[in-house]
């Protein structure tokens, strides 16, 4: 399970699940995250401030006035996690408009992959993706893995502003820009769907780690009328 537990500074515990990026390892990270979150919600653990799952790490930050590294480490080591724990993960279908005004980087992708736009979209849309983590900006999901044939590095010079709703790909991953933000992913389209809703106080992020996500294409007309 956890390969190594160490301290990250004096107020965080760093749980290392290995160096590979895979659904198997990430599912273990998410299991630990879900377990700890329930305990925090039920006030069973004192002093935890934040828990951040990522591909293969889990970072737990705590209030040094209330607890310390050894106490939280002990809690983590004593967790009884079942390998095949049932998660409440869901499937999300995301509409995406890939017309040229939204698919900003097709020209670059056609050059790099030597495929046509139709082929790229066929490979992209036929797969269901796994959400490894959310973050960087509020609600941004990191999804994978995309077909090897359409993988491509980040832009050499990142954009200063990627439009809100942009759907991007890089390496084996795909994501959605929930806010306008700087970024270097190859943009293939834009979704009108609200992925992060700050008015939804219970569950602001539509896509959570462990969820399965697939994309389907919509026309520009459907895109424009989506939120009406």
């Amino acid at each position: 399970m956890i390969k190594n537990i160490s301290n990250l500074g004096d107020a965080a515990v760093y749980c290392d699940f290995g160096s590979d990026v895979s659904e198997t390892i990430n599912t273990k990270v998410i299991n630990y995250f879900n377990h700890l979150s329930v305990l925090v919600k039920k006030n069973k653990i004192n002093g935890i401030k934040n828990i951040t799952p990522s591909y293969n790490k889990l970072i737990i930050s705590f209030d040094l006035e209330k607890t310390n590294y050894l106490e939280i480490k002990k809690v983590v080591m004593n967790l009884d996690i079942k390998e095949d724990a049932q998660n409440n993960n869901k499937k999300v279908k995301v509409p995406v408009c890939c017309e040229n005004e939204f698919g900003l980087d097709f020209k670059r992708l056609l050059d790099k992959t030597r495929l046509s736009k139709e082929e790229i979209l066929k490979f992209y849309l036929e797969k269901e993706y796994f959400c490894y983590m959310t973050g960087f900006i509020a609600g941004m999901p990191f999804l994978g893995d995309i077909n090897k044939k359409i993988r491509c590095d980040r832009l050499e010079t990142p954009r200063v502003k990627v439009p809100q709703g942009s759907v991007g790909i890089t390496e084996q991953f795909t994501n959605i820009y929930t806010f306008e933000s700087p970024g270097g992913w190859n943009i293939i389209g834009n979704t009108p769907l609200k992925i992060f809703d700050k008015l939804n106080l219970e569950e602001p992020a539509l896509i959570k780690p462990g969820d399965k996500v697939s994309f389907y294409q919509i026309s520009k007309k459907e895109y424009i009328n989506w939120n009406e």
Binding site: V40, I51, Y55, I59, S61, M140, F196
Partner: protein, 317 residues
């Protein structure tokens, strides 16, 4: 129902509402926010007999010029701040930090600037009329969450004051000593061994300069390039306040309260909790040095830091 408010005659460079911060949301990408200088947040609230983590106005460098409308309040300023109180009769008083004042209807507070530090704090007894978002009043300007719709204050905004509670018995004052040490204590990071022996040595021995790229998200430093011998990228993982990332250009970045929740650069170190207030207050062109401490030592230093904070708080009991 109070009708008392601050009219903003000049908003200042980066004036926001901050409190203890917003927790339990890193996993959806929402950062902690909160006052950069948590000790001065507590002290400024204590001086007006508020809860210690009540929402206050945080300002950076040039602060706001505020005019009080429809009421009479008690306020205090902490930090290293040059400010004046302009009374209704045009009489101007030089302001003193760490002291309680009464402000009358029509009086103005001119928060001219911070001195050799980045942030200052203004509290009002009883607090401001705001709504919590995810259990915090803090303004998060990146995700537009929190007070003032997640935006810094601008000239047309009003800051509404909760009460006209002037029930006060005594004078409130603290004799605050600002620590002007340039040593920042650090615990080695999870990727410390990504750096060459020379880089590891120079990290703890050479001086770094704070660049002008310093804000509530983080502080970029410049110095001798820190050579990475393993990889200039890691698989993205969580970040925390105080984490020091080193991107491919070899210049360290220290994460502050509004940092991105995950990052993909190696972490060479983490600033200890007791030094976070001081790091956040650094201004461009200041020179700093990192000093290595071990976990147990950091925990003891934090106890001393907490005792110091309590000593100041007790001056007002």
């Amino acid at each position: 129902m109070s009708n008392t408010y601050f009219q903003i005659l000049r908003p200042g460079i980066n004036t926001t509402i901050q409190d203890g911060g917003r927790n339990h949301l890193y996993h959806v990408g929402i950062t902690v926010s909160g006052a950069i200088d948590q000790r001065n947040l507590k002290l400024v609230n204590k001086l007006v007999e508020n809860q210690l983590d009540e929402a206050v106005i945080e300002f950076a460098y040039q602060g706001p010029l505020l005019k009080l409308k429809n009421g009479k309040i008690i306020f205090s300023i902490t930090g290293d701040v040059l400010f004046k109180i302009i009374r209704k009769n045009s009489k101007i008083e030089d302001g003193i930090c760490y002291k309680k004042y009464i402000l009358e209807d029509g009086d103005q507070i001119d928060l001219i600037s911070t001195k050799n530090t980045a942030y200052g704090y203004l509290s009002v007894k009883g607090g401001f009329k705001l709504e919590k978002v995810w259990n915090s009043y803090s303004t998060n300007t990146k995700a537009n969450i929190g007070s003032n719709n997640g935006k810094k204050y601008s000239i047309e905004d009003k800051i509404i004051i909760k009460s006209n509670d002037l029930q006060t018995s005594k004078e409130m004052k603290m004799s605050y000593n600002k620590i002007s040490d340039n040593i920042i204590r650090v615990i080695k990071g999870t990727n410390f061994n990504y750096f060459s022996r020379e880089a590891q040595n120079s990290f703890f021995n050479q001086e770094f300069l704070v660049t002008k790229l310093a804000d509530r998200m983080g502080i970029r430093l410049s110095g001798l390039k820190l050579e990475n011998i393993v990889s200039t990228n890691i698989k993205s993982e969580g970040l925390i306040r105080g984490a020091i990332q080193v991107p491919a250009d070899g210049n360290p970045i220290i994460m502050l309260s509004d940092h991105g929740t995950i990052g993909g650069y190696p972490k060479i170190g983490v600033v200890i909790s007791a030094d976070l207030d001081r790091v956040g207050q650094l201004t461009p062109r200041s020179a700093i040095k990192f000093k290595e401490v071990r976990l147990e030592e950091a925990q003891n230093i934090f106890k001393a830091y907490t005792d110091d904070t309590n000593k100041y708080l007790n001056e007002c009991n």
